[in-house]
Amino acid sequence: MSHSGAPLTAAEVMKLIPQRDPFLFIDEILEIDEEHVVASYRWRPDADFYQGHFPGNPVTPGVLLIESMAQASVVALGLYLVTQTHSVEEARKFLTVFTDANVEFSGIVRPGDEVKITARKQFYRRMKLRSEAEMTLSDGTLVCSGVLSGMGIPQ
């Protein structure tokens, strides 16, 4: 379960992700390997932010859609890649920080919608990971897509 053995499983990567409720925006990692990750999330209808975004017309904020994509494409895939060369204990000492993103929105996500995030690695060098990611609704409708990067820094 680390650089000294088999690669981490999707469930093991999920446990390593430091974000927790109410700021964890992936429920499950469906696929993960050195090149890609697929994850899912169901947007909780009772989340507080829907009360204000927008009153009477709840829409999931775009910044949270970006965060959800980043948690899959940068944090989860990053932890998977880091544990190829570091032990799980060493990996826990790094904090993944968001460095840059270029995202385009083409749909909206309502409370209760389930989304799938699919991301493919563009590069991983010197603890920096850049991935191309997209989020789709369960009927396949594209919600947003773009390129996101993050970096592991010692904490």
Binding site: V97, T99, D100, F123, R125, R126, K128, S149, M151
Partner: protein
């Protein structure tokens, strides 16, 4: 490839990431990439990858650690390319 030629191409690659235009206008071999040009340190990987593509070279991570100035980049690139 001459150092002048490399310098021009290095500056062109750095330019989109520079946040201090004044330092860029007066750029020299001594210009520090992070401290003077105010390039975000998280962009260094992007810059190194761009150098590799532009000059068709490979830059090992350990070589990157010793790069601080524009002149350091030029010396590293010219050394690898020639």
């Amino acid at each position: 490839m001459t150092e002048d030629d490399a310098l021009e191409r290095v500056v062109k690659i750095l330019t989109p990431h520079v946040r201090n235009e004044e330092a860029l206008a007066n750029v020299s071999a001594e210009t520090n990439i992070l401290d003077d040009l105010k390039v975000n340190s998280a962009r260094l990987v992007d810059v190194v990858l761009a150098f590799e593509d532009e000059f068709d070279i490979e830059i090992p991570d350990e070589d990157v650690d010793s790069v601080n100035t524009v002149g350091d980049c030029v010396k590293l690139i010219v050394g690898k390319a020639n």
